[in-house]
């Protein structure tokens, strides 16, 4: 069957059936009225043929629903453009070779979970020797010299340490996003760097479950990486970006 990429729809078990599953909680007790409310909610989302396949009472006048429906909306896939930090991801060996060949010295990277954020799992996944999901972290790369400052690092201290370490780049991790605290932390860093005329001195990269490359650019960062990012993606970006920066300076 041919696919019309200018008008795609979700695929359940037949092309263009538009099937979607969703689940949510409503602040009402379970019962026929709750079920009808769930169905109406899905209808208001423009889903057709809505079926509430599961209802469960959660106590305290809350109830949970699993719902199927179908959509008649379509997307023109051929028109989609997504901002990406890197066009191509190199592997561990290629990255080291690339840096050696193009820059000729190890890149110096400082990492930190800034502000009140105490969750280092993302930062460690990218920086620690062991890395994540079978990919070594930056510490393991001979062509990266790294300094992992850990959790709860104030922005001022990060800048101070980055200068002391003579860093080329900063990696910032932000996991806690309640009440947009991450946006405040990130904005503050950029403002501090700009105030001290240091913004051009560092390539700054942010990662976290709620971070996208687009959001990062909007906040004045050079790149952003979201959930599931592996060390080579960040390393490839740093290699290419710093190659541009460093060799531009020298030209």
């Amino acid at each position: 069957m041919s696919r019309d990429l200018t008008a795609i729809k979700p695929y359940g078990d037949t092309m263009n059936d538009g099937k979607i599953q969703l689940s949510f909680t409503l602040p009402v007790p379970a019962g026929p009225e709750g079920k009808e409310a769930a169905r109406k909610m899905a209808s208001q989302l423009n889903l057709k043929e809505v079926e509430v396949v599961h209802t469960k009472d959660l106590g305290e006048d809350f109830s949970f629903y699993i719902v199927y429906g179908q959509t008649d909306k379509t997307i023109d896939y051929t028109k989609i453009r997504v901002a990406r930090a890197t066009s191509s991801v190199m592997d561990y060996y290629e990255i080291n070779e690339y840096i050696e060949e193009n820059i000729g010295r190890p890149l110096r990277v400082v990492g930190a979970c800034t502000g009140s954020d105490a969750h280092t799992v993302g930062l460690d996944a990218i920086m620690n020797m062991k890395g994540y999901s079978g990919e070594y972290g930056l510490e393991r790369y001979p062509m990266f010299k790294t300094l992992n400052l850990g959790s709860q690092v104030p922005n001022e201290e990060l800048i101070h340490k980055a200068l002391e370490f003579d860093a080329d780049a900063m990696l910032i991790s932000q996991v806690v996003t309640q009440k947009d605290i991450h946006v405040k932390n990130l904005t503050e860093l950029v403002e501090l760097l700009e105030a001290e005329r240091l913004r051009d001195k560092f390539t700054i990269v942010v990662g976290g479950p709620r971070i996208s490359h687009e959001l990062a650019l909007e906040l004045g960062f050079d790149a952003g990486f979201g959930i599931g990012t592996l060390p080579p993606e960040v390393a490839s970006f740093l290699a290419e970006e710093l190659n541009r920066e460093i060799n531009k300076e020298e030209n």
Partner: protein
């Protein structure tokens, strides 16, 4: 119950090494107190409230005493001098200090009371306050008689909205859905605050502030829903970080049932000074022991940074150290919720067998402890469907090996703080497996030369080796060299160092004396 065949001589060697390690810690902190311990003593006497800038009165008093070089004798004696010479009650004195109407230093310097008289007065006051804590403990026993907690493994869920009233709503619903234990996660960074915030709070990041008022609000809600459900619902908070013993005191007063409390977590993961942490953990555990509060230790955290396969022995070694240090605070084994976790990479072949080996090993090494078993977090992704299955494997391991406190995994672990439905789904998951495989552990045996037995032997071997190495070089040097979680901490570094104070020869902490004496007598 299926049993591993463990070399008891090696187990004995682990415990002997731990005794040596704990001795070195005792020596290291000999003759020291901290600002947080002294604030705790004030709180235990009933000092409370904040001034117009929200600074707690215990902090106001201890800071002033410290500045005036009056803290070395202990806050108890100084409070006694102030009370006796002003003839005020603790409540009135707290209020006067909060309103800046009273200069406690002047009061102390002008008092020329006989120090024995002050001490005996404060001893009696402390003894009355201790009786109150004892009564709270007895109240818990009574309630648990009337509304027994569910069977183990207890189902432990968290709430973390930042708003205590929203937390209450979620906690009540969780109890209706079958939760046995509710933990209120603290706002991120509270562990590094050198004071305890005050009053009910409705704003927090990644959690809700631990305040005495918040404890009270949640306690009342859980008592109410527990009575309706006919099941005592246990409440958990964190006595860790710079205010470890103060929060232990607040938990004792508000009848919390469990508190996160680890001998080394603060040093490793929050970069808190070693002396500060060891002094604080000793007194906080003494309070927990007296109040009958189960501690939850934090070994599971090692595996979020270090590899669960190659570093499994560091978890067991730390459990032995936590056990020995806890017993020196008179905590009985049934209050030691030693922590570990299901964190092996899910792509590892036979990883499930290795998880069973670890869980069963820990179960047999600490037979009376209500082990705190933590769910997969490190390898949780945005794939909630796979995540739900990972949590199911975790639950199956727990029911086979008889864990005590089952911290339920959330299918949305890597995404957000749990939605109400996430909690409900994880409770369903655990209840299904705990019922469906209820007696599986009793029906199986481990092959003597099998993978599970082999793995347990290997971990135990590495544990003995590690503990004996630490006993040789001392725990402080071990922490300096990164033996735990791959994190290195210098002995003179860390936050809260300024709060470590040398005790004078006439130092007096009547609560420590009373608690210890009664606990030893009841052994």
């Amino acid at each position: 119950m299926a049993k591993l065949d463990l070399d008891q001589n090696k187990v004995k060697r682990c415990r002997l090494a731990s005794v040596k390690i704990a001795d070195s810690v005792d020596n290291y902190i000999e003759g020291l107190t901290t600002t947080s311990v002294e604030r705790t003593i004030l709180r235990l006497y009933g000092v409370d409230g904040v001034n117009s800038e929200e600074i707690p009165v215990p902090n106001l008093i201890v800071d002033q005493l410290n500045k005036a070089d009056l803290l070395e004798a202990g806050a108890a004696v100084r409070l006694g001098q102030a009370l006796l010479s002003s003839q005020l009650t603790v409540e009135d004195l707290s209020e006067a200090i909060a309103e800046n109407k009273l200069d406690i230093i002047k009061l102390i310097n002008n008092s020329n009371l006989n120090s024995n008289k002050v001490k005996s007065y404060m001893r009696e006051l402390a003894s009355n306050r201790a009786k109150k804590i004892k009564a709270i403990r007895e109240k818990r026993d009574e309630l648990q008689q009337e509304y027994p907690p569910g069977p183990k493994p207890w189902l432990y869920v968290i709430v973390a909205t930042g708003n205590i009233y929203e937390d209450v709503q979620q906690a009540r619903a969780a109890a209706r859905q079958g939760a046995d234990i509710v933990a209120v996660i603290r706002s991120t960074a509270q562990s590094l605050l050198d004071y305890v915030p005050y009053g009910p709070t409705t704003e927090g990041f990644g959690g809700t502030y631990a305040t005495q008022e918040n404890f009270k609000i949640m306690r009342e809600a859980l008592d109410e829903v527990g009575q309706e459900e006919g099941r005592y619902i246990q409440l958990v908070n964190y006595c860790s970080g710079l205010c470890m013993p103060e929060i232990a005191a607040m938990g004792a007063i508000e009848r919390l049932d469990m508190m996160l409390n680890d001998a080394m977590y603060g040093i490793l993961f929050r970069d808190i000074n070693m002396k500060r942490t060891f002094v604080d953990q000793y007194f906080s555990r003494l309070i927990n022991a007296y109040a009958g509060i189960i501690i939850n230790t934090g070994e599971d955290n090692y595996l979020t940074t270090a590899d669960a396969l190659s570093e499994a022995h560091t978890v067991v070694a730390s459990q032995f150290i936590n056990e020995e240090l806890a017993s020196r605070s008179q905590l009985p084994p049934e209050l030691m919720g030693l922590g570990h976790a299901f964190e092996i990479d899910p792509t590892v072949k036979d990883g499930f067998l290795l998880e069973i080996a670890q869980a069963q090993l820990v179960r047999q090494l600490f037979p009376e402890a209500p082990l705190k078993y933590m769910p997969p977090t490190k390898y949780m992704t945005g794939d909630i469907f796979k995540g739900h299955l990972q949590d199911g494997m975790f639950n199956l391991t727990s029911i086979i090996t008889g864990q005590g406190i089952q911290l339920l995994g959330m299918l949305t672990e890597a995404i957000h703080t749990p939605f109400m439905q996430d909690r409900a789904l994880s409770l369903e998951n655990a209840k299904y497996i705990f019922n469906n495989a209820c007696n599986l552990g009793g029906e199986i045996q481990f092959k003597p030369d099998g993978k599970i037995q082999g793995r347990a032997d290997k971990v135990l071997d590495e544990t003995v080796e590690m503990l004996e190495e630490i006993a040789e070089k001392g725990l402080i040097s071990a922490l300096e060299s990164g033996l735990f979680a791959g994190i290195e901490r210098p002995r003179n570094g860390g936050k809260g160092k300024d709060g470590v104070i040398k005790k004078a020869s006439d130092y007096y902490n009547p609560f420590a004396e009373i608690f210890r004496k009664e606990l030893v007598a009841s052994e």
